[in-house]
């Protein structure tokens, strides 16, 4: 099998992992210092770069492949499960190294995201994954981004080595609760996944605090949950996320709407989960992390987020007594709760209100959509209608027509 044929199989097998981040690692470059020679290949500059976008709207930042899609596990939601009939392939360590470097030199990618089906044993699999990263770093002086998927039961020595070469490590929790995991991924053990994440957090913190500790995954760890393959509702998913963020210092939790896979199992839902559900979960995740909302506030209207409107607007419509707010006097925390205001626009309002009584033209200039904020915000030249704020018409006014929604789905 030639490289392109293997790549077709092993990239196809990797695409259900939503993570694409290449940001937040230590800064490195390979430029000559004081007239010396170039040192290796590559750089990382804090922010990541999306080198392309596929028509699914996802950023292509890393060469995301599996080392092999042969797998001993039979996780029903996974295209690579043992009982699936998909064609199998396996890269050699050298092939992945060469492909990464060839793509990188042409500026197609920021680096490598390498995962693997579990073959023979967790240690055997992890060792091969680590060998790719080690060769890139040591044989080729590669300074680009490396994300390695961690096999939960791999030995601590291999995990240490992985952290030495990788920028990010991740372990997918896959499903929000243990009952679903037992049903859909019988060989996966939720406990050992948690324990492995705890182990990563311990090492990441140690590397940060103790100057003599060896380098360990400077871009931290992340995880992914599949949405819509089991019966878990959005509240359960968000509760799990907030627990994981608090416990393991995760940089990100990725949500991946279950989508039909070739050769899928009869035990799975036939229909894909709406992409809008995934989108709402990301919005809710953002509200939890940056806007001071709790899971309970976000899901007080029910276990499932409203697909027709974003969770912040939904909260505002349930909590109309909180509004209207006075743009001149409201606190930052209060302004962050106004539908239509984001972190940047709130900062700009706070700075400009020291200079002027903020009017609608000012908001328009700092790119605030007046139609969205007008019902909730009192301005120097605008007094929101209390009647409108209390009436049912407000929903019609703020929520896009169902026809547009169907398109968005």
């Amino acid at each position: 099998m030639d490289i392109a044929a293997k790549l077709a199989i092993l990239a196809d097998a990797a695409k259900y992992d939503a993570s694409c981040a290449s940001s937040g690692t230590s800064k490195r470059h390979s430029a000559p210092v004081r007239g010396g020679p170039a040192r290796g290949l590559g750089s990382t500059e804090g922010a990541g770069i999306c080198h392309s976008y596929a028509p699914d709207g996802r950023c292509i930042s890393l060469l995301k492949v599996l080392l092999t899609n042969a797998c001993a596990f039979d996780c029903l939601y996974c295209v690579n499960r043992a009982s699936s009939n998909v064609p199998r392939a396996r890269f050699s360590v050298q092939e992945v190294v060469d492909l990464t470097l060839d793509f990188y030199r042409r500026n197609y990618i920021e680096g490598l995201f390498l995962s693997s089906g579990v073959i023979r044993s967790p240690d055997y699999t992890m060792e091969h994954v680590v060998r790719v990263a080690k060769s890139l770093r040591l044989d080729h002086g590669f300074k680009g981004y490396i994300h390695l998927k961690t096999i939960p039961d791999a030995s601590p020595e291999l995990i240490s080595e992985a952290g030495l070469y990788a920028d990010r490590l991740s372990i997918n929790v896959e499903l929000p609760d243990e009952a679903s995991l037992r049903r859909l991924a019988p060989e996966k053990d939720g406990r050992s996944v948690r324990r492995a994440m705890a182990g990563l957090r311990g090492r990441i913190e140690e590397a940060k605090v103790e100057r003599r500790a060896p380098r360990f995954a400077p871009a931290g760890q992340s995880t992914q949950m599949i949405v819509g393959a089991d019966a878990a509702d959005d509240r359960a998913i968000l509760k799990t996320s907030s627990t994981l963020y608090a416990g393991y210092q995760l940089r990100r939790v990725y949500y991946s709407a279950f989508s039909p896979i070739p050769d899928s199992s009869a035990a799975l839902p036939l229909k894909p989960a709406p992409l809008m559900r995934e989108h709402r979960l990301y919005q809710a995740d953002w509200l939890m992390r940056f806007y001071g909302f709790s899971v309970d506030e976000i899901t007080e209207g029910g276990g499932m987020l409203d697909l027709a409107m974003d969770p912040k607007l939904a909260w505002a419509l349930r909590n109309r007594h909180f509004f209207p707010l006075d743009v001149q006097r409201a606190s930052r925390e209060e302004l962050m709760r106004v539908p239509g205001l984001g972190r940047t626009t709130v900062d700009r309002i706070l700075s400009s209100r020291r200079f002027r009584a903020v009017r609608s033209a000012d908001l328009a200039r700092i790119r605030v959509s007046l139609g969205k904020v007008a019902p909730f915000l009192r301005l120097a030249d605008h007094r929101p209608s209390i009647a409108l704020l209390e009436s049912e018409r407000l929903v019609e006014r703020l929520v896009p027509r169902p026809r547009q929604l169907a398109l968005a789905l």
């Binding site: 020679p37 001993a72 243990e178 963020y245 400009s352």
Partner: protein, 480 residues
Amino acid sequence: MTPRRVVLAGPADVAGWRAAARRLLADGVPAEAVVWSSGGAEDLFCDAADGDAEAPSPPAPSFSVPRAFVELADAGLLHSDPGRFDLFYRLLVRVVADRSALGDAADPDLVRARALAKAVRRDKHKMTAFVRFREVGTEAGPRFVAWFEPDHHIVEATAPFFVRRFAAMRWSILTPGRSAHWDGQDLLFADGARRADAPDGDALEAVWRTYYASIFNPARLKVSAMRAEMPKKYWRNLPEAPLISPLIAGAARRTADMVAAEPPAPKKGQRLMSKPKPERLIDETAIDALRDEVDGCRNCPLWADATQAVFGEGPGDAEVVVVGEQPGDKEDIAGRPFVGPAGALFDRAAGEAGLDRSRVYVTNAVKHFKFEPRGKFRLHKTPAPSEIAACRPWLERELAVIRPKLVVAMGATAARAVVGKPVKIGDTRGRILESAEGPDVLVTVHPSFLLRLPDEARRREEFERFVGDLRLVAPFVKAA
């Protein structure tokens, strides 16, 4: 007043603009009295013969301006808008007169300046993303050449990125306005080039296209999201772009096929991995058996959010068992008791009390960590009586195996678990409660109580009292 005319060295001559702006500012020239021209192709009215162009002059005094303005101007001045030099000079005059002028986010000049800077930063970012090198064989080895069409005058400003990243390669980036060349040591800029000057292909592009087509998920088409980040204007220089239309066109059919397909008969499970029973690292003694068992405990809901059950630690024949409340954040991560701040304080107090810490078995009344997630942290929550009761059998079994002479209960939760009913610490602490059938009991405070005391003097006093309580323990250990 005759207008002052400034001719810059080129459309990206930010240094020239700075020098001229300093001079104008020193001369007190108002913004409306300056005519800027870049000398570039964009400058239709540039007349080289015009005598009153600004002559090179000695360096003008420098003015201090906020860092934020410098950053804004450095980016915004590279925009292709012919009015940019004028706009930034006007803003400069205002900022020098009143440093707080930048604070008003709704100011029209500032809004425009920010828009220019943002467009330039985006253009630069897209250049780092969408430049595609093609490899060319030369006698001196491979050379990598790219053709790119930026919107603004960003080649000089963006080229250092490619040096930092591709220093070991020889490369050229050709654009209609400027070209950048790197030979491994030096970065050189030259005039613009034509598309035909760049190579028209690279054998690896077919492999890249294979990757692009394979990483795309046809079940989740989001064309507008793609186009927002990768606008069509870039497509003509992206080798993967010709695939976009056919991939979109085929997506619906591929998804429908996947959904309609009969679930296939599962393949006979290959034995790819033997799953041996995990080897025991430790002898199968009674206490280790308990340790394995407790991790599967589901007697109360606390297991669901915790990482693991944290069992006791210490000699299996200890004379003294010390019971704390529950594992904290650190203990939950490490899987070991008493490794957090409260544990460290206990160790210190035990040392002062002359207690041989290595002879003491330490454990908790509740084995899973109870907490409330709060952003990036977990806030400790006191276990409920039902949770203490649910966990009590584990403590009883631990004590039954170890058979200590004394149990030290630290804090109300531990006291409740050990005694079996609510206990007032203040009334019972500091004396050995003898028991006919079981081990004797000593109640004292939990070290985390000491950590929470805000008053330094009070904390010292309470620490001494705690050490005093622990002094009562030492004889039990020595008696062995």
